[in-house]
C-alpha cells in the first residue's frame, strides 16, 4: 500500500497540471488538435489510477478541454468519483466538472443522488454550498423529486450562506418538480423576512420569478412586498419588487391605490435625477436611473389604468424620457426607446409626437436600435400616418444591407399594416401594391408571409378583388423574375397566391387567355411542387372562364385554341415528379381532352365546366375548428371500442412477491351490443353528420350545400365608386397612392367644408370648433373605398375561450398553483405538529437533515377548526387510500402492526380537543417553529431544534423549555438535573427577532408513535410591565417520521422482498380521487419514501428507519 502511494506521488510529479496543459495548448498553436488528443490519452491513463488527487487533476483538465469544445461525456463516471471525494479540494473540482457537462440526458446523474444528499447535509457549509451550486446546473426532475425535501430543510439552515443558496435553488426545483411548490411555499414566504439581506433578496428573487408567470396566486403576498418595498434599501431587490407589483396591480385595483404614493415619490425622485442627468448629459447617471424609471412608469401606468385618474409627476417622466434620445451614447438611446415602447401602451399620444426622432433611429448603424425603433413604429401608426411611415420603411428596405434586417423590416411592414384586422388601412389598392413591391426583394425568407397576406386581402376585401387580380396576373406574367429564389419560404411563394387569386376570381380578369398562357409556360415546371399543383388546378379554373367567355360567340375557334393549348402544355406536368402535380395534371388533361371532343361536335360545355368550380369559399378563422362546441351528449373521452386489455402489463408487476394479493376486481362489464342497436347507432351517426357542416359527406351534393349556405349572399358588400382607375399601366407604384390619397383627402376636406356650411348637423361631429386648416382627426379620414372586410367565419355558438394563446409546453404552467388554496392545507402542515414529522437522515457524520414545521398558529387553527377537521380526515384518508403497507423488520418483534397503528394514532389525535383558547393570547406574541433532527449516529437520539420567533412588540426573556418525559422518550438534561427541570433557552428575543435552540431527546423504541407534552415559560417585558407567560405544546413522533428517505435500486429491492424476512400487511382505501403521481409525491414527501419503480398506476416504494428497519410499500390503484 505504502509503495503504491509513493508510486502515485512520483507519478504525480510528472503529471501535467492545468497550468501545464494551458501552456502546452498555447505553445502548440499550429497542431492544437494533435496535442490535445495526446493530452486526452494521458488523462485517460490518469483516470485509471487509484489516487484521487491524480483523478481530480485529470478531471480539472477535462473541464478545461470541455470548454474548448471537446467531448468529455465519456468521463462522466470519473467525475462522479471525484465528486464523492471527502476532500473539499477535489469535491469542488468534481462538482464544477459536473455542472459544466452534465445535462438531463447524462445517465450517471442518477448515481449522484445519494452523494448529493450526503453533501447537502455535510457539517461543512462549503461542501453544502458546492453541492447546491452544482445541483443548480444539472438538476433533473428525478433529482428534484428526491432532494426537494433535503433542500427545503436547508432553507432554514443556521448559516445564511446555505440558506440563500437553498432558497435560490428551490426555483429550479419547482420548475422540475412542481409538486414541491405547495409544501415549500410557506417556508419560502418566511424567508422574505429573513434577517440576512442576502437570503431575503434570494427569496424576493424566487417569488418574483414565480409571480411574474402566475401573478394571481401571489396576490396575498402584496402587503408583505409592500412592506419590503418601503423598507428595502437594496436597489436590486427594489427593482424586482416594483416589477412584481407591475404584474399584480392589474389584478387587484386596490393595490394600485396603495402603491401610488410610494411610487410617485420614487418616480419623482428619479425623474429629477434623470432630468438633471439628461441636461448635464451625464450618461452614466442616466443609465443607472433610467431602468428604474422604466419599471416604475410601467407600474404606475398600470396603476393609472386601474384608477383612471391622473398623476401630475407622471407626465414629467414621460417628457423626460425622450430627452435621452439626444444623448449620443447608444446604450442610453436603446433604453430610451425601450422606455418609450413601454409608455406607448398607455400614452400613445406622448410618444407619437416624437415620430421623427424615432424614424431617425431607423438610420442608426446599430441594428439593436433600429429594431427597437421598428417596434415603436408598430404601435405608433394611425390611419393618418400609416402610408407615410410605410413609405419611409420601404425606403429603408431598399437600402438595408443584410437579409436579416431586411426581413425584419418586411415582417414589420406587414405587421404594421395588418394589425388589428387592417384597422389602419384606408386604401387597399395601396396595400396590394406595397405587397407587390415587396415581392421584388431579393433573398427574403418571407415569401410565405407575403403570399398569405395577398390571399387574405383578396379573399376578405371583396371590393379589391378586381384590382388584386390584375396585379396578380401581372405577377404571374413576370413570374420568371421571382423564380430565382427557390428555397422554402422564398419569394416564389407569392406565385402560389397569385395563381390561386387569378384562378379563383378569374371573372375579374381582362385577358384570361394571356394569364392562362403565362401559367402554363415550361419554366413553371421548375417551381416547387406545391406551387405547380396550384398552377395546374387554377389553369383549369381559367380554362372554364375562357370557355364561358367564348361560349355563344360565333367563332368557337378561340375556345378550341385554349383546349389545344392545355392539351399541349399539360403533359409537362403529368410527368412531374411531384405526386400532387401529376395527379391533378393527368386528371385535368383527360377532362380537357374530353371537352375538346365535345367542342368539335359543337356541344356547349361552358356551363358544365364552370360548375366544377362554382361556389364561393369563405374565409374560416384559424381557430374555428377548435371552437366547434361539443354537441350535447357527446363524450369525447369515452371509449369507442373496448379499451385494450391491461392484463399483459399487470403480469409484469412483481405481484408474486407479495404474499397477499387482493382478488382482482372484475373488469367493467362488456356491453353486449346487438345488431339492432348497431343499426340504430349508425342511423344516429348519419343524422349527426348530416347536421355537421364540418363533416365531409360522401354525397355528391357538397358543392350545393355551400351554395345554399346562408351568409354569403347576406354579407353586405357596398358597391363603391372608384376614384382610382382600375387599370394601372405597368407595375404599380405605391408612392403614387400617397399622392392620390393626399389629394383625395384634400378634396374630401373641401367637400366637407362645403357640407359643413350647409349642414349644421355636421358640426356636432366636428366638435364645432374644428379648425379646417389644422390636422384632421382620426375619424375624419374616410377610407378611399367603402371597404367591407369580411370577418373570418366561426362555427355557430362557438365557445369563447381566452386560453388560445397559452403555450402548453411552458414549464411555468405547471407552477400555476393557487397558493391561496393553500391556506387550509397550510393549516394541515401547521397541524402536522400532530403528525410531527421526525426527519432523520442517514449520515456518516453528525449532520442531519432538518425538517422545519410551522408550529402552533392557533389563530389560524381556531378560525378554521371545523374546516380543518374535515381536511385532516381527508388527508388521512389519502394516506391510507389504496395503500398496502408491507412493513418488514429485520427483527420481527412488534413490527407487523405498524401501518395500522400509524393510522389509528392519527385518528385519536383528531378526536382530541385542541387547546386553542389557552394558546391564543400567547402565540399572538410568539411564533414557534420546530425542527426535529434524528441523529443516526446514535440510533436512539433525536435532536429537536426549535426556532422561536417573537411576533409581538414586547421583549421576551428568560425562556425555559421543558418536556414531560415518557418512558420511551426523554429530554436529555445536563448532568445532575432532575427530570422535571426545564432547559434554559440561551438567548433573549427582542421584538420581531427569531432564533434557534436545540434540544436532544433519547428515544428507546421507534416502532411506536409518541406524543410528548411540553411547556415553554418566558417573561414578556413591555415598556411598563413584565409578565410571566406559558406556552403549551405537543411533540408528536409518528412512525413514518422516523423514516429516512433512502433510495433503493430495484434489484436490491427484489432481493429484500425475496429474503422472506419481512412481514406484511395490506390496507385498502376507497373514495379517493387524486392523480396517482400526486399521491406518490405526497407519500414521498410526507412519509419519506422513495419510489423504486413505477409501472402505470402501481408503484413500489422504499424507506428505512433510523434504526435500520426496512420498509417496503406497494401502492396501487384498483379500478372500481
Amino acid at each position: 500500500m505504502a509503495l503504491k502511494i509513493v508510486k502515485g506521488s512520483i507519478d504525480r510529479m510528472f503529471d501535467k497540471n492545468l497550468q501545464d496543459l494551458v501552456r502546452g495548448i498555447r505553445n502548440h498553436k499550429e497542431d492544437e488538435a494533435k496535442y490535445i488528443s495526446t493530452c486526452i490519452d494521458e488523462i485517460k491513463q490518469e483516470l485509471k489510477q487509484d489516487n484521487i488527487a491524480v483523478k481530480a487533476n485529470a478531471v480539472c483538465k477535462l473541464t478545461y478541454l470541455q470548454m474548448l469544445g471537446y467531448d468529455i461525456s465519456w468521463a462522466a463516471f470519473n467525475i462522479v468519483e471525484v465528486m464523492s471525494s471527502s476532500k473539499f479540494t477535489y469535491k469542488r473540482i468534481g462538482y464544477l466538472a459536473a455542472s459544466q457537462c452534465f445535462h438531463e440526458g447524462t445517465d450517471v446523474i442518477m448515481l449522484t443522488t445519494n452523494q448529493i444528499r450526503k453533501d447537502l447535509s455535510s457539517p461543512n457549509q462549503y461542501d453544502t454550498g458546492v453541492a447546491l451550486t452544482g445541483l443548480s446546473c444539472f438538476v433533473t426532475p428525478d433529482l428534484a423529486r428526491d432532494l426537494a425535501n433535503d433542500i427545503m430543510t436547508l432553507m432554514s439552515h443556521t448559516k445564511p450562506y446555505i440558506r440563500k443558496k437553498a432558497v435560490l435553488i428551490m426555483y429550479k426545483v419547482f420548475l422540475k418538480y412542481p409538486e414541491s411548490l405547495r409544501p415549500a411555499f410557506p417556508r419560502l414566504k418566511e424567508k422574505l423576512e429573513d434577517p440576512d439581506p442576502g437570503v431575503q433578496s434570494a427569496a424576493v428573487n424566487v417569488i418574483c420569478e414565480l409571480a411574474r408567470r402566475n401573478p394571481k396566486n401571489y396576490l396575498s403576498l402584496a402587503p408583505l412586498f409592500f412592506k419590503l418595498m418601503t423598507s428595502s434599501t437594496n436597489n436590486w431587490v427594489l427593482i424586482k419588487i416594483i416589477k412584481l407589483f407591475g404584474a399584480l396591480t392589474p389584478l387587484e385595483p386596490r393595490l394600485g391605490k396603495k402603491l401610488i404614493e410610494p411610487l410617485t415619490n420614487l418616480i419623482h425622485r428619479l425623474v429629477i435625477t434623470l432630468h438633471r442627468a439628461s441636461v448635464e448629459k451625464n450618461v452614466c447617471l442616466i443609465g443607472l436611473v433610467l431602468p428604474i424609471v422604466c419599471v416604475c412608469v410601467c407600474v404606475s401606468n398600470a396603476v393609472l389604468i386601474s384608477l383612471s385618474s391622473g398623476m401630475p409627476n407622471h407626465s414629467a417622466s414621460i417628457q423626460t424620457v425622450p430627452h435621452c434620445l439626444y444623448v449620443s451614447l447608444v446604450t442610453v438611446k436603446y433604453l430610451g426607446l425601450l422606455a418609450m415602447s413601454k409608455i406607448l401602451k398607455t400614452h400613445p399620444k406622448s410618444v407619437q409626437s416624437h415620430k421623427d426622432l424615432i424614424l431617425q433611429c431607423l438610420d442608426d448603424k446599430d441594428e439593436s436600435i433600429r429594431l427597437r425603433a421598428l417596434d415603436l413604429l408598430y404601435g405608433m401608426v394611425s390611419k393618418k400616418n400609416l402610408m407615410e411611415i410605410v413609405k419611409k420603411l420601404m425606403l429603408h428596405v431598399d437600402k438595408a444591407e443584410g437579409t436579416t434586417y431586411r426581413d425584419e423590416l418586411l415582417t414589420k411592414i406587414i405587421d404594421i399594416c395588418s394589425q388589428s384586422n387592417y384597422q389602419y388601412i384606408t386604401n387597399f389598392e395601396w396595400y396590394i401594391s406595397i405587397l407587390v413591391e415587396l415581392t421584388r426583394l431579393e433573398g427574403t425568407r418571407h415569401g410565405h408571409l407575403i403570399a398569405s397576406q395577398m390571399l387574405d386581402v383578396a379573399i376578405r376585401v371583396k371590393a379589391i378583388r378586381g384590382f388584386a387580380v390584375a396585379q396578380m396576373a401581372m405577377l404571374l406574367d413576370s413570374g420568371h423574375l421571382l423564380t430565382g429564389n427557390m428555397q422554402r419560404n422564398g419569394i416564389c411563394e407569392v406565385l402560389y397566391a397569385a395563381a390561386w387569386i387569378c384562378g379563383e376570381f378569374s371573372e375579374h380578369l381582362d385577358d384570361p387567355m394571356q394569364t392562362l398562357e403565362a401559367m402554363l409556360r415550361p419554366k413553371v415546371a421548375s417551381l416547387p411542387g406545391h406551387i405547380q399543383a396550384v398552377y395546374v388546378q387554377n389553369a383549369a379554373k381559367l380554362f372554364a372562364t375562357v370557355l364561358q367567355k367564348h361560349e355563344g360567340a360565333t367563332d368557337s375557334q378561340a375556345a378550341q385554341d385554349t383546349s389545344q393549348l392545355l392539351i399541349e402544355r399539360l403533359p409537362l406536368f403529368v410527368q412531374s415528379a411531384n405526386l400532387e402535380v401529376q395527379e391533378r395534371a393527368s386528371c385535368i388533361l383527360q377532362l380537357v381532352k374530353y371537352i375538346q371532343k365535345l367542342q368539335q361536335k359543337d356541344v356547349e360545355v361552358a356551363e358544365e365546366v364552370s360548375a366544377l368550380f362554382a361556389g364561393e369559399l369563405n374565409p374560416v378563422a384559424p381557430k374555428a375548428q377548435k371552437k366547434v362546441p361539443v354537441p350535447e351528449g357527446l363524450d369525447l373521452d369515452a371509449w369507442i371500442n373496448e379499451p385494450p386489455s391491461e392484463s399483459e402489463s399487470e403480469d409484469e408487476k412483481p405481484k408474486a412477491v407479495f404474499a397477499k394479493e387482493e382478488p382482482k376486481q372484475s373488469r367493467a362489464r362488456h356491453i353486449e351490443v346487438d345488431e339492432k342497436e348497431l343499426a340504430r347507432r349508425r342511423e344516429a351517426r348519419k343524422q349527426e353528420q348530416a347536421n355537421n357542416p364540418f363533416y365531409i359527406k360522401s354525397s355528391p351534393s357538397s358543392q350545393k350545400v355551400y351554395q345554399d349556405a346562408p351568409g354569403v349572399e347576406h354579407i353586405p358588400v357596398v358597391q363603391i365608386d372608384l376614384s382610382v382607375p382600375l387599370k394601372v399601366p405597368g407595375m404599380p407604384m405605391s408612392e403614387q397612392y400617397l399622392k392620390l390619397e393626399e389629394e383625395r383627402r384634400q378634396k374630401e376636406r373641401a367637400d366637407k367644408k362645403k357640407k359643413d356650411k350647409k349642414k349644421k348637423k355636421r358640426e356636432k361631429r366636428g366638435k364645432g370648433k374644428r379648425d379646417d386648416s389644422g390636422p384632421e382627426s382620426e375619424e375624419d379620414i374616410t377610407p378611399a373605398h367603402q371597404v367591407d372586410i369580411v370577418t373570418e367565419e366561426m362555427p355557430e355558438n362557438a365557445l369563447p375561450s381566452d386560453d388560445d394563446d397559452k403555450d402548453p409546453n411552458d414549464p411555468h404552467k405547471a407552477l400555476d398553483i393557487d397558493l391561496d388554496k393553500y391556506v387550509p392545507s397550510a393549516e394541515n402542515t401547521l397541524h402536522k405538529v400532530t403528525v410531527c414529522m421526525l426527519h432523520a437522515e442517514k449520515q456518516g457524520d453528525l449532520s442531519i437533515t432538518r425538517h422545519f414545521l410551522v408550529f402552533l398558529v392557533p389563530l389560524l387553527v381556531q378560525k378554521s377548526l371545523k374546516n380543518k377537521k374535515k381536511k385532516q380526515k381527508k388527508e388521512k384518508d389519502e394516506k391510507k387510500k389504496k395503500k398496502r403497507h408491507h412493513h418488514h423488520h429485520h427483527h420481527g418483534d412488534g413490527g407487523g402492526g405498524d401501518s395500522v397503528q400509524n393510522g389509528t394514532v392519527e385518528e385519536e389525535e383528531e378526536e382530541e380537543p385542541l387547546p386553542v383558547s389557552r394558546f391564543l393570547p400567547i402565540t399572538e406574541q410568539k411564533n414557534t417553529v420546530y425542527d426535529i433532527q434524528g441523529n443516526l449516529q446514535d440510533g436512539s437520539q433525536v435532536v429537536v431544534s426549535v426556532i422561536f420567533e417573537n411576533k409581538s412588540n414586547s421583549f421576551l426573556k428568560s425562556m425555559e423549555f421543558n418536556v414531560l418525559d415518557s418512558l420511551n422518550s426523554k429530554l436529555q438534561r445536563p448532568e445532575g438535573a432532575s427530570p422535571h427541570d426545564g432547559l434554559v433557552v440561551p438567548f433573549q428575543l427582542p421584538p420581531g427577532v427569531s432564533n434557534e435552540a436545540r434540544f436532544v431527546f433519547s428515544v428507546q423504541s421507534i416502532v411506536m408513535p409518541q406524543k410528548l407534552k411540553g411547556t415553554l415559560t418566558f417573561i414578556v417585558k413591555s415598556e411598563d410591565s413584565s409578565t410571566h407567560e406559558k406556552l403549551d405544546f405537543k411533540l408528536h413522533f409518528t412512525c413514518t417520521s422516523y423514516l429516512i428517505t433512502t433510495p433503493c435500486y430495484s434489484d436490491a429491492y427484489a432481493k429484500l422482498l425475496e429474503s422472506g424476512d419481512l412481514k406484511s400487511s395490506s390496507l385498502k382505501l376507497e373514495g379517493l380521487n387524486m392523480p396517482f403521481h400526486h399521491l406518490l409525491a405526497r407519500i414521498c414527501f410526507h412519509h419519506h419514501f422513495s419510489v423504486v419503480e413505477r409501472i402505470d398506476s402501481c408503484a413500489s416504494m422504499y424507506s428505512r428507519s433510523i434504526q435500520g428497519h426496512h420498509v417496503c410499500l406497494l401502492v396501487k390503484t384498483v379500478s372500481s
Binding site: 509513493v6 488527487a53 470548454m67 469544445g69 455542472s99 438531463e104 439581506p197 433610467l290 433604453l335
Partner: protein, 153 residues
C-alpha cells in the same frame, strides 16, 4: 439568466456557464453564432441585442467580451450591472485581472461566478461576502491540500 459566456476578441471561449440544460451540440451552435454576432458589432454600438427570443447583453473589458443571455422580461441594465460586478470581483480576487488570469485559473473564475450567481439569479449582491466565501473555501482547500501532501510525504 440563461447563460453567460466569456470570449476573447479572437473568438476563443474563455468561460461558459449554462443555467438551462442543453445538449453539447446546441451549446456549441449557440456559442458559435453568438460569438460571431457579437464580434461583428462595432465598438460604439449599444450593449444589447435581440437574438432569437432572447436578449443578449454584452460588454467588452479590454480584450474580453462578457456576454449574457436573458429572457424577454428580464432587465438589461441589471444584467449589465451583474457583468460589471463580476468583473469587479475578478479584479479584486486576482488583483487587476487580465485575460491570462482567467485562462490559467479558469476554475477559480468559475468558483467566483458560482458564489455570485446561482441558477442564473444573483445570489449575493455584496462583493465583500462573495470574496469572503471564496477566500474561506480556498483556505479550506489549502488546508486539505496541505494535509494531503503531508500524508503523501
Amino acid at each position: 439568466m440563461q447563460f453567460m459566456l466569456l470570449f476573447s476578441r479572437q473568438g476563443k471561449l474563455r468561460l461558459q456557464k449554462w443555467y438551462v440544460p442543453l445538449s453539447d451540440k446546441e451549446k456549441k451552435k449557440i456559442t458559435r453564432e453568438l460569438v460571431q454576432t457579437v464580434l461583428a458589432r462595432k465598438p460604439k454600438m449599444c450593449s444589447f441585442l435581440e437574438w432569437r427570443d432572447l436578449k443578449i447583453v454584452y460588454k467588452r473589458y479590454a480584450s474580453l467580451y462578457f456576454c449574457c443571455a436573458i429572457e424577454d422580461q428580464d432587465n438589461e441594465l441589471i444584467t449589465l450591472e451583474i457583468i460589471h460586478r463580476y468583473v469587479e470581483l475578478l479584479d479584486k480576487y486576482f488583483g487587476s485581472v487580465c485575460e491570462l488570469d482567467i485562462i490559467f485559473n479558469f476554475e477559480k473564475a468559475y468558483f467566483i461566478l458560482d458564489e455570485f450567481l446561482l441558477g442564473g439569479e444573483a445570489q449575493e449582491t455584496s462583493k465583500k461576502n462573495v470574496l469572503k466565501a471564496i477566500e474561506q473555501a480556498d483556505l479550506l482547500q489549502e488546508v486539505s491540500h496541505h494535509e494531503g501532501s503531508r500524508f503523501v510525504d
